[in-house]
Amino acid sequence: MSAAKSHRLAGFIRSRPRLERLLDRLLRPVERLTKGPLFGCQMCGQCVLHSTGMVCPMTCPKNLRNGPCGGVRLDGSCEVYHDMQCIWVNAYTRSQKLFWPEEIHDLRPPVDWSLEGSASWLNLLTARDQVQSGCESQPASALDLVPYDS
């Protein structure tokens, strides 16, 4: 879908609150029932699975969205739950096997908690998940700073 078309679709849905509520009600359970068991989805409403190696960052005990903390043990286990593999170790490994390995380096904005529980698929359509924090355009990816060969 072209940018102009998706923009029009977003406008169309957002200008019709009843339609948006209906779509949200329909999509929520579908999303919960599919992404829940598959990815441990926590319904944050602003899905970034695509850029985190199909591993949900909200399953990190610290909810980190931009990479692993410094507490990952040498065997790759989580500092909080020792019997659990660090989800970011998995996310990085898996992201590098996808066709878009560079997306892991995106700077993901803070979570918009007002979207928690809503259907992220709809938020994607309506662009409500395009959370922009701060005020100026800033690097969108760590790769804006460093040479990348992959």
Binding site: L64, G67, G70, L74, V80, W88, T93, P110, C135, L145
Partner: protein, 334 residues
Amino acid sequence: MTASDFRATEHPSRLAAILAAGHFAVAAELSPPLGVDLEKINHNARTIREYADAVNVTDNQAASVRLASIPVCALLVQQGIEPVAQMTCRDRNRLAIQADLLGAAALGIKNLLCLSGDHGRWGDHPGAKNVFDLDSTHLVRLARNMVEYGCLDNGKPLSPAPRLFIGAVANPFSPPYDYRPFRLAKKVAAGARFIQTQLIFNVDRFRTYMDRVRELGLHEQVFILAGVGPFKSSRQANFMAKKVAGMDVPEVLLERMEKTPRAAQPEEGIRICCEIIEQVREIPGIAGVHIMAVHWAEAVPEIISRAGLYPRPIMAATIAKDRQEAALTTQQEG
């Protein structure tokens, strides 16, 4: 002011000025006490004053309640010490973080170190809610928005903007190793101007990490301070190696500590620390050291002197001036 206008030399932070001037910087670290007795922290501050360009003050270290970082930093400012306020994402949401950063700047604090923070589960209040509204990268970015763009996280303007020299942390010893240099790049992209690393014991691993950092050209975009610290005893070394997550202590060092008689262990710990400083100084792209002597402030002067890093460029001048003034006052009184 935009990001490209940033010049460390024009920054009010003394740490920024020292780094920008190309001096090999020295930062130390103080852990605030539990309670309201300031005697101990004042004593420690006096002990390390002449020996460090900046002093980090931890924020509820190890997820355990301590006197807060910002008030202790403000106390250090009064004593002519340059503090680095540490701020974690564990205990505050974005409102509290921004409010505290404004408070810090208003109290004369000029350096900020952004961390995710240890999880509360292993702290002294395991039942507490872990906030983590932001992660460390968000925190860096939020601080940069306030400092360099003069706006809050919601985009609203903020005037006057606080002036802080923004730092972040890096752990080269924690998997996934390939990713760690890129994680550093992300923090720099978010706005980090200086980096303090996890304690370095495995120098080979650190060298490999820095090779990659230089390949990526990151050492020219951010000042990297290597984290070092002494073992006080063989027991402490073992504790760090086995119990502290994200710490890589080679077996040889543990053996060295173990073989040393108990009374000589602090001395051996300091010797190891000095050896590591010597090795990391040789690594291109290292702009300074950050000495973390846990509950052992007395070790800092010893390490700095032996490593040949004393006197410090700016503190020496400040202290000479203080002494001159004190002498003058005595003369006048006499």
